[in-house]
Amino acid sequence: MGGFFHRHRGVTPYLLLAPGILWLGIFFLVPMGFLGYQSLQSGIFPDFRFTWEFSNFSTALTDYHQQLIRSFVYAGIATVACLLLAYPLAYWIAFRAGPWRNLFLLFIVAPFFVTYLVRTLAWLNILADQGPVVRVLRDVHILAPDGRLLATTFAVISGITYNFFPFMALPVYVSLEQIDPRLLEAAKDLYASSFQAFLRVTLPLSAPGIVAGTLITFIPAAGDFINAALLGTPNQQMIGNVIQAKFLESLDYPGAASLSFILMGTILVMLLVYARIVGTEKLTG
């Protein structure tokens, strides 16, 4: 066998790639093909026919552009909120937590030991109208006497921020943790203030973590439907909720498939623009 690999060196990378490609082929490309085929069908359940029905896409955009825009706005706000919360925390853990680093990292990951659905359901109790949080906020007049937290835009965006927080915190931490402290010392030797050293050394070196964190937070958040379904009302429905309802409630498979493609396409375009702005080398770290 060793002889074979030696003689056919060019083949080895392909052999190593084969399992991954097979996996992607079966579980990504084949379903994508089905989805694409379905998105161009027409008819009423269960008699769908393939008719190159491109109008599915235009109809979906006309009917649901509101939910589509809302998804990106919510995901965008949640991503920025995650970054603002995660960066100082990751910074502190990387540079100041000393021997307690791993413990604090564990705290960030701990909520992940509970399933996504249950984590979100927990907020139903925490934010309940008769619950302690709302009662305190009413008492200190932050909320009106009949005000509420649940079933609001605030609740949905907070839910997304909470659920995707570790996706932001961990990559940012990893990039901060890799920074050689001698670089900061060197900056100070060259008369940089702490703030200047952060701005000129730390921030640029942690950029790959920020970029990676932004992407893996924003992309799934834009397609999320659990938070809007559990913490929101019809006024907070996101594109994921529409796709779910089209597949399960109205049995409009072509409509749901075309919406899925629109979501994917929009994310892809945003990703390309983002990559253009920040530079591709940061995407790959």
């Binding site: 009423i44 008769q130 019809p234 089209k246």
Partner: protein, 384 residues
């Protein structure tokens, strides 16, 4: 001919064949196993899919003061058929989405009986797409005990494909700590004191049925104008902020925690919550009654399923089930049977509604439930 070439060709064709065969094979494997083969003989196992909390258990029976083996245990002992009872129906659309793939290819789903509700479009879909098999009535002599009101439903006029499992009622539930009694949809939608604390269902038949009754329209014969009137009324209550949101079964949680002061609610749920501050009533303009129906999906064993259905239509058995499960049975003579088991349970008007309550009940129009245009409008009100 060169024998080497032949072997090469054979290998190549074989490989191509395996590739072609294995892709659908893999996909089929992902879709779960097929069902038991249909045959005329009674199997020794029955696979049954139902909603949760829908069966008498040793605990619920003990609570009702009945000390007998459960109906499932009695069935197994009497017939020697082992029952695999799956509580895996959580919503009609979800279950349908899960099984429609194999059924549409004429494949079984590993179940002999599944349960689907008559005020959603899916029960009709199973039957009209021929995904449900005909009952073997020769094995169900107890079908004679089916109450007259259930003998000729529009989705299955001769009961060839389905038999009722249990019924429940659509009404209004409220929390007496947060509101006065709420006894009409008008009050639910217009009382300013309830603003933002009102729940309605996300299922069209239930919600619009009650609204149509409030509008003075007949939910059993829906026209475009009565449908639009009902939708407009829900839309108005939603836009004004009166309706907090649209719920599935989770409305019960929100009613318990006080997020909702009043909500459209199913009769059995309020009974099962057993919370003294919660009340339930049929709206003054009337309520909707729905029924979960047993059907035999493709691939299921008709004789085995029919044998079980016949057993459950024994009045004594159905009485014990009703006492243990707290739902309405469609079998005649259940009430006297229940009185014998436990006089107190027989007084429960949710399990045994009075004749007056039943006279206020209406059924949904199946044509409305199956209208995809209506379904689209209904989802649009919910922001979907």
């Amino acid at each position: 001919m060169n024998p080497r070439m032949t072997r090469d060709q054979l290998l190549r064709r074989g490989a191509a064949g395996i590739t072609l065969l294995s892709v659908p094979g893999l996909l089929a494997a992902c879709g779960g196993g097929g069902g038991s083969q249909s045959s005329s003989k009674v199997n020794d196992v029955l696979n049954f899919s139902n909603w949760p909390y829908y069966m008498d258990t040793p605990q619920t029976l003990a609570k009702a003061g009945v000390h007998k083996p459960t109906t499932l245990q009695q069935f197994e002992k009497k017939t020697g058929i082992k029952v695999n009872y799956y509580e895996d129906v959580n919503s009609n659309p979800e279950y349908f989405a899960k099984v429609q793939g194999p059924l549409s290819h004429g494949k079984g789903i590993g179940r002999d009986i599944i349960v689907s509700t008559d005020n959603d479009r899916f029960l009709g879909e199973y039957i009209s797409n021929h995904w449900a098999q005909k009952l073997d009535k020769s094995l169900i002599p107890n079908i004679a005990n089916l109450i007259p009101a259930q003998q000729h439903p529009p989705f299955d006029p001769n009961r060839d494909y389905s038999l009722p499992w249990a019924s429940g009622m659509d009404g209004i539930g409220w929390d007496e700590k947060l509101t006065d009694p709420v006894t009409s949809v008008k009050q639910l939608f217009e009382d300013p004191k309830l603003k933002g604390k009102v729940g309605v269902w996300n299922s069209m038949g239930d919600t619009l049925g009650l609204v149509m009754l409030e509008n003075g329209d007949d939910p059993s014969h829906v026209t475009d104008s009565s449908f639009n009137r009902a939708i407009a009324r829900v839309q108005k209550a939603k836009n004004s902020g009166q309706i907090r949101s649209f719920y599935g079964n989770d409305y019960a949680t929100h009613l318990s925690t006080g997020d909702l002061a009043a909500t459209m609610a199913w009769s059995g749920d309020i009974a099962n919550l057993a919370d003294p501050k919660l009340h339930w009533a049929v709206p003054e303009q009337g309520g909707i009654i729905w029924t979960d129906n047993m059907i035999i999906p493709l691939g299921g064993s008709v004789p085995t399923a029919s044998t079980y259905m016949n057993f459950m239509y024994e009045p004594k058995i159905s009485a014990q089930w009703a006492v243990g499960a707290n739902y309405i049975s469609s079998v005649t003579g259940v009430k006297p049977g229940a009185e014998k088991l436990d006089p107190k349970a027989a007084e429960n008007t949710l399990t045994f509604p009075t004749a007056k309550t039943l006279s206020q009940m209406h059924q949904n129009d199946p044509a409305m439930l199956n209208n995809s245009d209506y379904n689209k409008k209904w989802l649009a009100v919910q922001g979907q």
